[in-house]
């Protein structure tokens, strides 16, 4: 655990970093009487993968949707590229927990939908869509409909759609929760490959400690409701090693253990 620039403002942990692309400033969120988030101060570094990890119901999806501009915050503000944003924008793309694919549209149309909404001509958007369909490993499925695909394949369509609009920041809400353990590992490796290839900023939500440690540059742990930042961990994993070596690496295992100890207090 190193390099995390931590400070405390009004007793709350605040995370800053150099070259932040997304800044979350003092965000709070109430759903009626339910206080979902309180005093979140958090910066996301450009080109890195930051994971939000925490117990179910702690407000991870809420925070991600506030960053996406899909849910209004009750207090505080979000800056992207140093500009305050109040709604969705072209520099952010969202990957939904439940895929959000149009059942009446082919894989091709689903992947190109972000471009279709922007008025990109069909030939151009199909060319881009085809490229990303191939990149997520779905070549040959262009003309299939979502119900003809497995859960994992559907999620890849969602990921390809987010890539196709060429946003700087990708927001992924538990993208692998519908996938079995073997495929999950494969997807995590694919994701790391895409992170490497695309040079984008990723904000990733997951339940899985192992997954978080394996894929993240930084992990932000949230406490149960109301969600607050409870801990920040930079796993510092050597990703040039083979996936199996990484999963046996002492540093990896220690980090998993450290997070588990951190979360355990909430489980009891």
């Amino acid at each position: 655990m190193a390099n995390a620039a931590l400070s405390r403002t009004q007793g709350q942990l605040a995370v800053t970093c150099e070259d932040a692309i997304v800044q979350v400033r003092d965000i709070g969120k109430n759903y009626g009487d339910v206080e979902a988030l309180r005093g979140i101060n958090l910066e996301f570094q450009r080109g890195k993968l930051t994971t939000l990890l925490g117990p179910s119901g702690c407000g991870k999806t809420t925070l991600l949707k506030i960053i996406a501009g899909l849910v209004p915050a009750s207090s505080g503000e979000i800056c992207v590229n140093d500009k305050v944003v109040t709604g969705p924008g072209p520099e952010r793309a969202f990957v939904f927990q439940d895929f959000a694919l149009m059942p009446w549209a082919t894989v091709m149309r689903n992947v190109g939908f972000g471009l279709e909404l922007r008025g990109v001509p069909a030939i151009e958007r199909n060319r881009v869509a085809r490229r990303y369909i191939e990149q997520v490993g779905l070549a040959g499925f262009e003309e299939k409909y979502p119900h003809e695909l497995s859960g994992g394949m559907r999620q890849r369509v969602g990921i390809a759609r987010a890539f196709a609009v060429n946003a700087d920041v990708l927001l992924l809400d538990e993208p692998f929760s519908a996938v079995d353990e073997q495929n999950r590992r494969k997807f995590q490796e694919d994701l790391l490959r895409l992170v490497d290839l695309e040079k984008k900023t990723f904000i990733f939500v997951t339940h899985s400690i192992e997954e978080a440690v394996y894929v993240s540059d930084r992990i932000v742990l949230l406490s149960p409701r109301p969600g607050r930042i409870s801990q920040v961990i930079d796993p510092m994993i050597d990703r040039t090693a083979s996936p199996d070596d990484i999963r046996r690496d002492a540093g990896y295992l220690n980090t998993v253990e450290e997070i588990w100890q951190g979360l355990r207090q909430y489980a009891e």
Binding site: A68, G69, P88, F96, A100, M102, F113, R118, Y145
Partner: protein, 291 residues
């Protein structure tokens, strides 16, 4: 379910021996057992089951007419002959010419206005507050009781009959369209917003396509209600068209002709609804076509 195929097969063979289908001979040549072959044939051809069930129904009708269960109940064969006669002498065709006018007009008005109002209610809370109570009352009201009132206001012409169709069809279509829009997957709407879709794109590219199965279900119910409306109008307002055929042949105890008229309107209504369903699955929702 390891035991069910065997049981299903013996049932198949029972059907073969009863109805002496010629296909059974063809099925015997195939490598799988004849029962299996017939079973897969039956599964693949929905029309097989439709024809079989109609055959059973008509056979039962014929027998009931032979018994007879009532002096006013004609045999199936008598009814068919009466039907052929009425088509041949043009009375049936002229009757449909009269009946279809208020029906088609009323259904078109109800479909356009109903889907439009329903979608508007689904999209806007203000419109919902304004209109939802009206249509909920209208749908609950026994419309047949109101049909005679229409004659007081609009007389006995095409307007009154069209209005009767609209009164029955419109509330169903409005309320189903409204429900369809309200049950659109919110995650798809969020998805459209996250890619900066405009409100117009949201409505035309997400909400209406996602609502279309329920919209169409409402339209089918509305058309079925429209058939009820037109028959009520023709029986209660003034006897014209098919309603007139039914009333007239009953009064002269021509039961074969009366039943032929009744059966024909049922057939027309069923075929219309089936056609609409076919149109929906094959034209509007291509993903439904590939099973």
């Amino acid at each position: 379910m390891p035991s069910s195929p065997g049981r299903a097969r013996s049932r198949m063979q029972a059907i073969v021996s009863h109805t002496k289908l010629n296909d059974a001979a063809g099925a015997l040549k195939a490598p799988p057992t004849p029962g299996q072959a017939l079973q897969s044939f039956a599964e693949n051809r929905r029309s097989f089951w439709i024809i079989l069930s109609l055959a059973v129904l008509f056979a039962a009708w014929e027998i009931a007419g032979l018994v007879p269960i009532s002096f006013a109940f004609p045999k199936f064969s008598e009814t068919v002959l009466a039907f052929v006669e009425m088509v041949a002498d043009g009375t049936m065709i002229y009757a449909y010419f009269l009946t279809l006018q208020p029906l088609v007009l009323g259904v078109l008005i109800s479909a356009v206005v109903g889907i439009g109002l329903g979608i508007a209610m689904g999209l806007s809370n203000k419109i919902e507050w304004l209109l939802a109570p009206v249509f909920i009352v209208l749908q609950a009201a026994p419309m047949a009781a109101l049909v005679p009132l229409v004659t007081f206001i609009y007389g006995i012409g095409l307007t009154a009959k069209t209005l009767a169709v609209v009164m029955l069809a419109l509330p169903v279509i409005v309320l189903n369209s409204y429900k369809a829009v309200r049950h659109v997957n919110p995650s798809l709407v969020d998805m459209c917003r996250s890619f900066q879709g405009t409100r117009k794109q949201q409505i035309f590219k997400i909400i209406i396509p996602d609502a279309s199965p329920v919209l169409f279900a409402g339209l089918r119910l509305g058309i079925a209600a429209g058939f009820i409306g037109v028959m009520l109008a023709e029986l209660l307002i003034t006897p014209t068209g098919i309603g007139d055929l039914i009333t007239y042949h009953r009064s002269v105890a021509n039961y074969g002709h009366m039943y032929a008229s009744v059966a024909s309107i049922i057939a027309v209504s069923t075929l219309t609804l089936a056609g609409l369903q076919y149109f929906e699955t094959n034209v509007l929702r291509p993903e439904k076509r590939r099973k």
